[in-house]
């Protein structure tokens, strides 16, 4: 398998921390994750997907960065699909990331795990089908979300390349 992560492609869009990007095929949405979590949504009907680069589990107040928090990212993503006539039942979601980068030396009580759990809960609350996840561990991840297939290619310093 050839990883789409091995070289920068013209149709590759990097999604920064706290950002969300909605795009139609053909394109790849990429992100580098540590304790952050990527929530992806894909509509095969629309041939479009969205990636939110979530940093924290829960917003404490109204935010200008809805994709920064797991609990606000999911409604924000769904509203983007709704504008194109796609309902939650027509979307599949995946979650990637949520590592604990410093292991037992972390100052923050496994924020990666909290992010992953909050993302899953938020999807469940919104009745969006979570079809795959690759979460936890102690290593960072580079991901490439292919908007033609809905597949995510994952590379990390600890594992071989894998696809979900």
């Amino acid at each position: 398998m050839v990883s789409c992560l091995t070289e920068q492609r013209r149709d590759e869009i990097n999604v920064g921390m706290g950002q969300a990007v909605f795009h139609r095929e053909p394109a790849q949405l990429t992100a580098i994750l540590g304790s952050c979590v990527a929530i992806t949504m894909f509509s095969s009907k629309l041939r479009a997907g969205m990636l939110s680069h979530v940093v924290l589990p829960k917003a404490v107040e109204k935010t200008a960065y809805p994709a920064k928090f797991a609990d606000t990212a999911v409604p924000y993503m769904l509203s983007a699909f709704e504008r194109h006539g796609i309902r939650p039942g027509e979307i599949v979601a995946k979650i990637v990331g949520g590592a604990c980068m410093f292991g037992k030396n972390s100052k923050f009580l496994d924020i990666g795990d909290c992010n992953a759990k909050a993302a899953a809960k938020s999807l469940e609350d919104a009745s969006v089908r979570l079809v795959a996840s690759d979460i936890g561990g102690a290593a960072g991840r580079r991901i490439c979300f292919d908007l033609t297939t809905g597949e995510i290619v994952i590379e990390s310093s600890a594992h071989r390349v894998r696809t979900i």
């Binding site: 920064g16 680069h53 580079r142 310093s157």
Partner: protein
């Protein structure tokens, strides 16, 4: 320019002066440790919007070799000493007076040499800040990490991103045998430490 903008500008200028002093002390410590092979210069102190952090700092797509020190206490932060692999192996070989080891993996001796580098550098940097702001900061033992720079930085920034949508980072660059090298020292204070520093600096200004 608004009064607030003036005030933020002044704070950033004071922070630059502080980090430049810390860099000066760290540079002296590194010269002693590496027998004058390495010197440091403050590159920038900047406030970067969250979504631009990794793009602006441009760590590249390959894993980096890093030594991470956390600053303990209520007002803490992180110091990240980062190298590309080639640079890290070159420094370890210089310090150990041994041929460059081309991996895979890192021997305990190599890890120890790089950890000690992070320790010496970090303590000199932190001691200078402590002295100038009259606030005690205690660095943790160094953590050796090989991973994506952006992944490690995400966790180091948590002390700021929970409260802000931008991140203050001080970045220092290095010269090794008078040539620019791909090493970086990032200082990432928590919001609480940033407030402590700014208060102390404004009182002295």
């Amino acid at each position: 320019m608004t009064e607030l903008a003036c005030s933020e500008d002044l704070k950033l200028r004071l922070l630059r002066q502080l980090f430049a002093s810390a860099t000066h002390d760290a540079s002296a410590a590194m010269c002693r440790w590496t027998n004058s092979l390495v010197s440091l210069t403050l590159d920038e102190v900047c406030e970067i919007p969250l979504e631009n952090v990794c793009g602006d700092l441009n760590f590249g797509d390959e894993p980096l070799t890093m030594v991470v020190l956390n600053l303990e206490g209520e007002a803490g932060g992180s110091l990240l000493l980062m190298f590309n692999e080639e640079s890290a192996r070159g420094l370890a070989a210089s310090l150990l007076d041994a041929p460059v080891h081309h991996g895979p993996g890192w021997s305990e001796l190599e890890q120890s040499a790089l950890n000690e580098t992070g320790n010496i550098l970090g303590c000199a940097y932190v001691n200078a800040i402590t002295r100038l702001i009259d606030y005690s900061l205690v660095p943790s033992t160094p953590n050796f990490v090989v991973d994506y720079g952006a992944s490690v930085l995400q966790e180091a920034m948590l002390g700021q991103v929970a409260l802000n949508d931008s991140v203050l980072i001080g970045r220092t660059r290095f010269q090794h045998r008078n040539e620019e090298v791909s090493w970086w020292l990032l200082f990432v204070p928590t919001v609480a430490l940033r407030e402590v520093i700014e208060r102390a600096l404004l009182l002295k200004a």
